[in-house]
């Protein structure tokens, strides 16, 4: 069924079609409609899930973790300060191998108080052990929720589905809503190897001595390393059933490019339009949109970017005192590789400032004129 829905509701439909069994969430702009629609679906009996009202995001995640350990498929959603308040629980989810799926609407962290988009909220949780998918359309949001359950439950690692505030969360787009029976065929019920039950009492999260802790973390990393191939496999399977491929990255006109933009989120789609316009002017540019950020898709990124002379990474985020975070990651992935390209780092769009086709023209202009980055960070659209 073709329907015009907002990005927030794309998350809700994704959770509904995945037959989430326990939903616990606390409202925060711009995430609120995700939970509003899910609570309506539960109240109307469209979705057979337990909806738990909680007093904070920390509790929302704690409730999801308890339910996940009992063997339920769980869902929550949040934004910015809400995600920050969950921080401790995020480590519990990943370290405890609880495959919660969560939507995070990228919203700039306060202060200054903001409800507009940037990526510092989710990137501040980069090292918690969660899988992170950065989406660029409402269709991709819905599809990725379903895929994420499949990936997360196979490897027992939680997933975060990330979308830009307003540019996706409150923007209506045409979305193909898959049929429930087909989603059921793609995504079987959650059946964890262990679950908490009063019949066979156990405890999770006990004191772990130096004799054992490192192995738990080694196993988490080893399973994280399996994610890129599993995303590939489940993304191809999704394509076979629903006609839409869900990959780790999206490559657009990179093969013959002299300069490739590295992008994410909605800017990753606007970049495609800029690429088309720049190519009309005879400039050979391309776009590599990174969708899977954790684990980092090393293989794909190396494969594509070691064939091009110049790379311009756009960050809608910043590690203060260092660089944009995607820039750091791309450099780290390419360091020491044969045919390492020249890499430039650009920061734009913090706190919801728009990233336009013109922004990419400015980036292309800088990168094509310079042999190397003369500044640590090239700022786009800042009032200096």
């Amino acid at each position: 069924m073709r329907k015009v829905i907002m990005g927030n509701h794309a998350l809700s439909y994704g959770a509904m079609l995945s037959r989430a069994q326990v939903i616990a969430a606390y409202p925060i702009t711009p995430q609120t409609q995700v939970v509003e629609l899910l609570s309506e679906m539960c109240a109307d009996g469209i979705l057979n899930a337990k909806f738990i009202k909680v007093e904070s995001e920390h509790s929302a995640m704690a409730a999801c973790l308890g339910a996940s350990l009992a063997g339920a498929r769980t869902f929550t959603a949040t934004s910015a300060q809400g995600l920050a308040l969950m921080h401790e629980m995020l480590h519990w989810a990943a370290g405890g191998r609880m495959p919660v799926v969560m939507g995070n609407i990228n919203r700039a962290l306060a202060p200054g108080w903001s409800i507009w988009t940037d990526q510092n909220d989710s990137l501040s949780e980069r090292d918690t052990g969660w899988i992170q998918f950065y989406c660029s359309s409402n269709q991709e949001v819905l599809d990725t929720v379903i895929q994420a359950y499949k990936v997360s439950e196979k490897l027992m690692i939680p997933s975060m589905i990330i979308l830009d505030a307003f540019a996706l969360s409150h923007t209506y787009e045409v979305v193909e809503i898959p049929e429930q029976e087909k989603v059921d065929a793609y995504l079987p019920p959650f059946n964890p190897p262990f679950r908490l039950t009063p019949e066979d009492p156990h405890a999770f999260g006990g004191l772990t001595s130096p004799d054992h802790y490192m192995e738990l973390r080694y196993k988490l990393q080893k399973d994280m390393e399996k994610v890129p191939d599993l995303v590939e496999e489940t993304g191809r399977e999704y394509e076979k059933m629903f006609g839409r491929y869900l990959g780790q990255v999206e490559e657009y006109l990179c093969a013959d490019a002299e300069l490739v933009f590295v992008t994410s989120g909605t800017a990753g789609y606007t970049a495609r339009v800029a690429v088309d316009e720049l190519r009309e002017k005879g400039l050979k540019v391309g776009n590599l949109r990174i969708k899977l950020f954790r684990p980092f898709p090393f293989k794909k990124v190396r494969e594509i970017l070691t064939r091009v002379p110049k790379v311009a990474v756009l960050d809608r985020n910043l590690s203060y005192g260092h660089h944009g975070i995607f820039y750091q990651e791309v450099k780290s992935a390419l360091y020491g590789q044969p045919n390492q390209p020249v890499i430039f780092g650009f920061v734009a769009g913090l706190g919801g400032r728009d990233i336009t086709r013109e922004s990419f023209k400015e980036i292309a202009d800088y990168a094509l004129k310079h042999d190397r980055a003369e500044e640590e960070i090239v700022w786009i659209g800042v009032k200096k």
Partner: protein, 186 residues
């Protein structure tokens, strides 16, 4: 690609107007993107909504700065703000007003249309006398003037998307559709 900007006041259903049009357009196989002004809205304050329409997937996720057309749900906004900001030459200005298009002073490069959506909304008892809901009537006029979709698609979209008094809203849209005719410079 066609880009339209809607001007209204908080509480008039400006965002819903853009959503209903998006629904109607999607029914005919178009790709659409509709969004409110990014931020917070207050009742009575000027608000914006935007819509992009294309026959192929829309990848541009930046804001609309140079709309092809503008739709004004509250005529007092014409005095309060510049509704033509960024409007492309040859663009249409569709205003909810009992006045004739000639009574508005806009540069000749724009085409001006008026529709008394307030009177139509009051007649069909949409909203209150003090705060009539004009959005469905406006979508009828926009559908006729811009010729983007069939009236039937709009009617279907209103029936599906308007929870209160759907049939009265349909009547208001049809009436506005029938009344919306040639404007200034058209």
């Amino acid at each position: 690609m066609i880009e339209i900007r809607f001007h209204g006041r908080g509480g008039q259903g400006t965002v819903v107007a853009s959503k209903i049009l998006a629904d109607a357009l999607a029914k005919e196989g178009n790709f659409v993107q509709a969004y409110p002004e990014f931020g917070v809205e207050r009742r009575g304050a000027p608000v914006f909504a935007f819509i992009r329409i294309d026959n192929k997937p829309i990848y541009d996720k930046s804001k609309i700065y140079n709309p092809d057309h503008v739709v004004v749900l509250d005529p007092t906004l014409v005095e309060a703000i510049d509704v033509t900001e960024g409007l492309k030459d040859g663009g249409f200005i569709i205003i909810n007003s009992p006045k004739k298009p000639e009574e508005f002073r806009f540069p000749d490069k724009f085409k001006v249309f008026t529709i008394d959506a307030t009177a139509i909304a009051v007649k069909h008892k949409l909203g209150t006398l003090a705060a009539p809901i004009v959005n469905t009537a406006i979508t009828g006029a926009v559908t006729r003037i811009l010729n983007l979709t069939k009236l039937e698609s709009l009617v279907e979209a209103i029936r599906e998307g308007v929870p209160l008094k759907p049939e009265d809203n349909v009547k208001a849209a049809i009436e506005a559709y029938e009344l919306a005719l040639g404007g200034k410079n058209a």
